[in-house]
């Protein structure tokens, strides 16, 4: 497998500021995943993970923008999602990535669970500035 950087074939973005934006956002991600021929299982993993992240963004970051990119790398293609919020940021990312850790009243599965569902997962956060989570799900990943 070549390790060249993926090429972005298509860019889309959607603003999520309210709870009712979640379902249309999920359908948009699904549309892109169907278009590249992603299997039903990978679609389900991608959309479930996206749903967790967008919920975090609404709950802790007061909403934000999600960029949806269709990627091509060699023979494989995939979807990259970039969640950007200008919320309070996460003081301790390692702790936030632990199963069962939560500052809210949820079960604390969102971040670690989503990492398991995706092929690539990256989180960057600065207190007082905001949080950016980038995930990739490959079509055959």
């Amino acid at each position: 497998m070549t390790t060249t950087a993926p090429i972005v074939l298509n860019r889309d973005s959607i603003t999520v500021s309210r709870e009712t934006d979640v379902v249309p956002f999920r359908s948009r991600v699904k549309e892109h995943a169907v278009k590249i021929g992603m299997s039903l299982l990978n679609q389900t993993k991608l959309i479930t993970g996206a749903s967790e992240l967008v919920r975090n963004m609404l709950k802790y970051g007061n909403g934000g923008i999600v960029k949806i990119e269709v990627l091509s790398r060699g023979r494989d293609s995939g979807i990259r999602l970039i969640f950007e919020d200008k919320g309070p940021g996460i003081p301790d990312i390692n702790k936030a990535m632990t199963d069962g850790f939560t500052t809210g009243k949820s079960m604390g599965l969102g971040l670690p669970g989503t990492k398991r569902l995706m092929n690539e997962f990256n989180i960057q956060s600065e207190v007082g500035v905001g949080t950016t989570v980038t995930v990739i799900k490959w079509k055959n990943g």
Binding site: E19, V23, L41, Q43, T44, K45, T48, M107, G113, L117
Partner: protein
Amino acid sequence: MEKIPILRMGHFLLVTIQVDLYDQLAENLEADLVSMVSKTNAKGVLIDVSSVSIIDSFMGRILGNIATMSKIMDADTVVVGMQPAVAITLVELGLPLKGVYTALNVERGMQLLRSKILLEEEDEEEEYDNDGADSIE
């Protein structure tokens, strides 16, 4: 305001979720179901999720809540018809769906609920028998 209909059938309440739920709708369903269990004395709740393509941790928590709350009100909850891709995703996400009974389809779900009611009735009968025995002594 959208609403998920709850159907009553004998001792059971049936819910078919046909749309992707947003949070408020799911929370309303939870509240409606629990109050319906109390109002109708239902012994079981059957939730059909065969048209649900996504169950994330929030939705999973709602299902768990419904089961726990119904149990406190003396009703069992069965979730039926989960799509294979959804089941795989739930496990990888780390969501165990504790306390929720599951069945492959509506038919088996109904069988499961019926068998639970029968078991309970048998238990009650045994209790009465014991009482009778005690009084004779």
